[in-house]
Symmetry: C2
Subunit: 320 residues, 2 copies
């Protein structure tokens, strides 16, 4: 969590001159996001976020993310709207990086969500899926099964740097998911990373959904599975909270249908979601270079969730 | 530049309950400061900074820094005021660290100051020295001559990790300063680190002086020498801008007297200031651990300034 690209006062002034938003009165780097540099910018007109996209982000994919955010903001969802310059262009260049000025939304992320917050979060996901039904954009999810195989291969080559048994657990799980990944479920644009960090509350209500840079086209119910693994356990994965899960799923169902087929597939989808975060954490664990600005997160937190899901049913998953 | 200590939403809510400032509506880590963790906090009452003091800061010295900031804010200077809780206490504990909620001041730092900005900055330093004339606090400057010797010894032991010739340059300079450091000049509480990053502007006027955590009792004119080395060169130290220096000194003199003795000592004081930043950069260069969150800054940028000061006179220093 850091600012990778420095923006000088002069560069900022030139950048803001492309818009009709006045001049900068406050400018602070935000310690948020591991892929991009983010700044808080206050001008004489209002408050904004400025995101500079770093090398991990594919420039060709930025229009997808920005159009998705714009689509959701247009539908009235609490999603930060990408702002456009005088010529109507959202994606800019600044300090040698692609950049976008984005609406500032208030809110505070929760760390230990209450059932009421889980319900509100599930409802926000459902409302987002409703709003995405007519979204035309398409992006292949590079963190779906084929991508998991690539990550697993990369980790297997350096398995000795991982906690003991982890490489075997990954290989076994991938074999299971290859054989059992659900087919025929509805697909949609999904957020794919709606962890508590990416959902903000003000006065108990959802005030912002943020960080759409993993969004892609995939099985719609997989988005709920990601939230299940993200919201319903202690952060170390050692404790499952059924009352959070019940509230999350009930909230989702209050806003969007969850079909019998989706419900039946949820245990497998949750195993996939837990494996996805296990894999990216394991990969980052062995690839975080000396001197990196990013703090490594423990992959075992998701290995424990994966173990729990092995004996889960649709009933235990939904807190019944 | 990063947030070292994470503060959960629950810990923040408990912290804010010690004050009468309402509840948090926005909470963002700020990528600013290398010694402390800083957050932007917006509550239902207003906007604040939250600083958590990390291990590099001596807990016993925090009351000095906070009383200095309060003294300056009381005098009407644009210095962020430490806020006190319902019991009148500024210094708190949060997430296991000493912490303080501080007034939010707007502003944008400049990277390449214009002469007009240098003049305003010099004037702000002079006004600060006027306001500090009756400040009773005292703190030994651990980054004065004895401290420079300690840093030089630490660097000399690993001189092979530094650019060639740097250890020799440091030793020669220290010998010169030992023999020539001015005596008898007026002392005062000084900021001691008033780089452009630590001074913010709004609409061309100084809106904030920040980061008082190197403040100490020392030769008052040394504060102007620090600003000279910080504001009057290109960041790599290769180019000197006499028009900035002329404006800086004229601004200072518009707000505070600069005696003939101080002016005569300025070349030596500037050599000391350049050496001080050369030494801390050289020390950080060889001691930045693998995985550190801090970007190393090039010590040669101050070695070049030091070279320039060798042939400087009071006239060239003041842009004449």
């Amino acid at each position: 969590m850091a600012v990778y690209t420095q923006v000088s006062a002069d560069a900022l002034a030139e950048f803001l001159s492309r818009y009709d938003l006045g001049e900068a009165v406050t400018f602070k780097g935000i310690a948020e996001g591991v892929q991009n540099s983010n700044y808080f910018v206050e001008t004489t007109h209002g408050r904004y976020f400025l995101t500079l996209y770093e090398h991990r982000v594919d420039l060709n994919e930025l229009p997808y993310f920005l159009s998705l955010m714009t689509h959701l903001a247009d539908k009235g969802l609490p999603v930060p709207r990408p702002l456009t310059d005088r010529k109507g262009v959202a994606l800019q260049m600044l300090a040698g990086r692609p950049a976008c000025l984005i609406e500032f939304l208030r809110g505070v992320s929760v760390n230990e969500p209450t059932p009421a917050e889980c319900r509100a979060a599930g409802e926000a996901l459902g409302a987002m899926h409703v709003a995405l039904a007519d979204f035309k954009g398409h992006r292949i999810n590079d963190l779906a099964l084929p991508g998991w195989h690539d990550l697993a291969d990369a980790c297997a080559a350096r398995a000795n740097e991982l906690p003991e048994g982890l490489a075997t657990q990954i290989a076994d799980e991938l074999a299971f998911l290859d054989a059992n990944w659900p087919k025929g479920l509805a697909t949609s644009a999904i957020h794919a990373d709606l962890f508590p960090d990416n959902l903000m509350f003000t006065a108990g209500k959802v005030s912002a959904l943020i960080d759409f840079y993993f969004a892609a086209t995939d099985i719609r119910a997989y988005d709920l599975a990601v939230m299940h693994t993200a919201w319903c356990f202690s952060s170390d994965g050692a404790t499952y909270f059924p009352e959070r899960a019940a509230a999350l799923v009930a909230g989702y169902r209050a806003a969007h249908v969850l079909t019998d087929a989706e419900l039946a597939a949820l245990p497998v989808l949750c195993r996939g979601a837990a494996l996805r975060f296990l894999l990216t954490r394991a990969f980052d664990w062995i690839n975080t270079p000396a001197g990196a600005l990013v703090t490594r997160k423990d992959p075992l937190a998701f290995a424990r969730r994966l173990d729990w899901y092995h004996s889960a049913t649709a009933d235990t998953l939904t807190g019944a």
